[in-house]
Each structure stands twice: as C-alpha cells, then as structure tokens.
Amino acid sequence: MKEGIKSAFKETKAYYCLECGKCTSACPVSIYYPGFSPRLLVKKALLDFEGDLLSDKNIWDCLTCNLCNDVCMSDVQLPEFIRAIRAEAQPTGNEGCESHCGIPHAVSRIMTNPNLKQSRLEWITKDMKFSKKEGEYLLWVGCAPYHKTIFPDFDDGTDIPKAALHLLNFFNITPVVLPNEKCCGHDMLWLGQKKTFEDLKEQNKKAIEDSKAERIITACAEGYYTLKNDYNLETEVIHISQFLADKIENEETKFKVSKKMKVTYHDPCRLGRFAGEYEAPRRIIEALPGVEFVEMEKNRHKSPCCGVSAWMNCDDFSKNMRFKKLTMAKDVGADVIVTTCPKCRIHLRCYTTNEHGHRGFDPPLRKISRPIG
C-alpha cells in the first residue's frame, strides 16, 4: 500500500468502515450512476489491490460533497480519503475529466508562476474604498475576475466581490484587496495536484502575511474552507455571511424595503457540511423586510450538492442533480434561490439558461448581494 493512502486511512478513520453501505445509499452520484459506490472504494483500498484502485476511474466521480460523512456511523471522512487516493492516482496518469476544456485548471496552474503580475482589480469602480497594501481586514476575491471571462453568457462573477466590497465600505471598513492574489488552490487540492496547491499556498500565505491583515473576509464558500483548513493561517478567516449576520444583529441597520418575494437557501457543501455554517446566511435572509424565507425539503446538512466540484465531470448525472435541486426549490414556491458559493450559482444558472436544460422554470438565482442600503 502506498504511503499516502496508508496515512489517509489513519487520518480519515477509513479503517473503521463497517461496510454498512449507508454512504452508498446517501451518495447523490450512486443514485444516478449505480456503478459508483464509496463503500466499494474503501474496500478496494483496504484489500490492497493497488494497481486496481489507482487505475479506477470511479475515484473521479465523487463530488466530495460530504453527504456520506453525514450518515456514516464511524465518522469516516470519505472526501478526504478520496482526495488522498486522487493525489496518488494523478501521477500514474489516471486523471479526471476536466470540464470547460480545463480552462479554470490551466488558469490555476499558470498562476503558480511567480513572475506573472495579474491585472485582476479591473472590477473595482471609483466609488469603492480599498487599499492595496496593508490593513486590518482583507477581502479575499478568489477566482471571480476569471468567471466573467469563462462564463460570459450567464455569470458576471465580479458582481460578488463588488457587492462584498460595497457592504464592507458601508460598515466603514476599508479592506485590503491583493493586486496579485493567486487562486486559493481548492480545485487543485481536490484534483490531487498537490504540488500546484502547495505552490499557490506558499505565495498566498506570503502575500497575506505582508498585508498584516488580522481578519480575512471571503465571499466564497470554497475559498473560506480552504483558507481556514488547509492553509494553517494565524489570521482569522470569516465568511461574508457570518460577518454580515453579526453586524445586522449587533448594529442598527436600516433596510430599504424591497419588493415581496419568496426566498430559499441552497447550502453549499463547503460552507455547510464541511465548515458547519448553516445559520448565518439564514439569519441575514430572515432579517430582510418583505422577504419570506422558505426551506427546501432537504436543507442544512441534508442539502444535495449542485452536481459538480472542482470543475470536473460535468455530465448527465450532475444535470439530473441540478434538476432535482431546482425542482425542490420550485416545489416550495421560491422566487429566488440564494446561495453563498459562486460555483453553485454558476452551475445552477447554467442549468436554467442552457438550452439542454429544463426550460419550464427559471427561478432567478442570486447570491447574497447588496441587501443593505
């Protein structure tokens, strides 16, 4: 057995697997693609048919959505386990199918080059206050400036950092926005490309330390989880929804009365099941006047995945998952789905705008954007 997999067994408690198969029954992939079974993957690794496991294409089908861990009686951290297998399988030539022609991955890889000076602050307008060097707060923008180019048809990724910066300015905070911020490396890490991740991490860590920030605020669920768990930062990492929820409750905030609508909330896996933050976004939505908050049938830790992770394996199965998710929102009569993950938004929007998608319904999708005025 390879060292990486051996240590993963210890760290993720995969040795305690009871083979009860609950993970497989809860897995959103297994529902549509019965050939995939998380339980069998653990068993294969335990039986030590090494070549068999590392050449298995099924390891790339996992969405790493953590629904399996939620039902597991032995608390096996299956996503992390799969991540370790992927890191071993990647060098042997067993690679996942990168969607969007692999552009997001290439962008991340190119960013590891320290000689490049990105021009990523073009979304900032003149009325926004920010600093490029030092400050108490740091706004982590993430890959949003690239989403605008990669998905020109339906997603202007920069509206998320724009809204976040507006909100921070509203609370009299002038955050640092790093001019040469690199990709946080989340996708590279979950694709098993550890070297790329480490390169990005080193450069980002240095930039964060140089900025002397005490708090990092991020508007991205994946960025939040990666910075918090895989970076070993001394700086405090806060998701914008947590920050806003605290501000709304502790300070007097006046809201413009918006038009009446029914809003539901989609829990992204990184913020929900991984980081355990379910309530903050709900607190914000409920505080808004004129907004009626409705829960979907499966919510919080049972919330199904949007269907794709790490820009990989976007196929019929993930389309089915999105269909299910959107139907769930439609069933409770929601006008708007709010989510805290830019990628979930892209995936759900893609389904509603795509001609192959189901045209019958289109709940307009919106991230938490500028609810306070």
Binding site: I103, N115, L116, S119, R120, E122
Partner: protein, 144 residues
C-alpha cells in the same frame, strides 16, 4: 538584448485556407522566419482557449491563429467561433498578466502565400520586440 532574442511562435492554421496558404508560400519560395511552428487544425473554430493557455504555459512566446476569411469558412461559421474564442482568450491572458498582444488572429486564404509569409514575419518581429514570455523571462535570459 532583445535583438538576438529568438521567439518561439505557435501557429494554428486551418486545413482549408491557411495551411494551403502556407503550402503556397513554400511552393512560391516566399521567405518567413523559422521561429514559427505550425499546427494544422481542421478549422480555426477548433482552437479553444485552453490550447492558447497551454501554449503559453509550455513556453510559447506568441500564438497565432489563422483561418479562412469571414464568409469563406469551409464549415460556414467556424471562423466566427474563432473570433469569439480569441476575444475570450485575450481577456484571460490580460487578466493573468500575459500581454494579449501575444495572441493574434489573422485571416489567410489558400491563394495568399505572399500574405502568409508577411503575417508570419510581422508577428515574429512584434513578439521579438515584446521579449520573452513573462512566465519564462528568467530562463530565457539564462538561455541567451
């Protein structure tokens, strides 16, 4: 310093026009710099942003995409797709910090051997003036 820099240029030529144009340039003995490496594709619309990104990632100093003139495409609108693609790739490159001038789209038909050699000469000169790919600036200096 820049004068002795020999850029590496990757050119995508469409099978029906530009590649035939390159052939014609060869047959009629038109000279163009040897810095250009040509890859034949069936249509300029086949080229995707990832091809361009990979080229730069792997050390190209410039990428040239050539196809049939608008309206002449063998597949009717492949070159229109190429236009959209190049716009997207240019945006990506400039955000990443690689000058978007390093990517160029040109229309060369099968009868334009002269033009093909001119385009190649011109682009090679332009890229040579820009200097090496910023990702490999240091290694390029060491190579010299």
């Amino acid at each position: 310093m820049v004068s002795n820099f020999e850029p590496k240029i990757l050119a995508f030529a469409c099978n029906w026009c530009s590649y035939a144009g390159a052939d014609l340039a060869g047959i009629s003995r038109k000279q163009y710099p040897p810095n250009v490496r040509i890859i034949r594709v069936m249509c300029s619309g086949r080229v995707e942003p990832i091809f361009v990104l990979s080229a730069f990632e792997n050390g190209a100093d410039g990428v040239l995409i050539t196809g049939c003139h608008i309206g002449d495409c063998h597949y009717k609108f492949g070159n229109k797709n190429a236009e959209i693609m190049v716009k997207q790739a240019k945006e990506l490159l400039s955000t990443l910090g690689i000058s978007s001038e390093r990517l160029r789209l040109e229309w060369v038909s099968a009868s334009e051997g002269q033009r093909f050699s001119e385009v190649m000469t011109d682009f090679t000169k332009e890229v040579a003036d820009m200097g090496p790919n910023p990702m490999f600036a240091k290694t390029a200096e060491a190579r010299r």
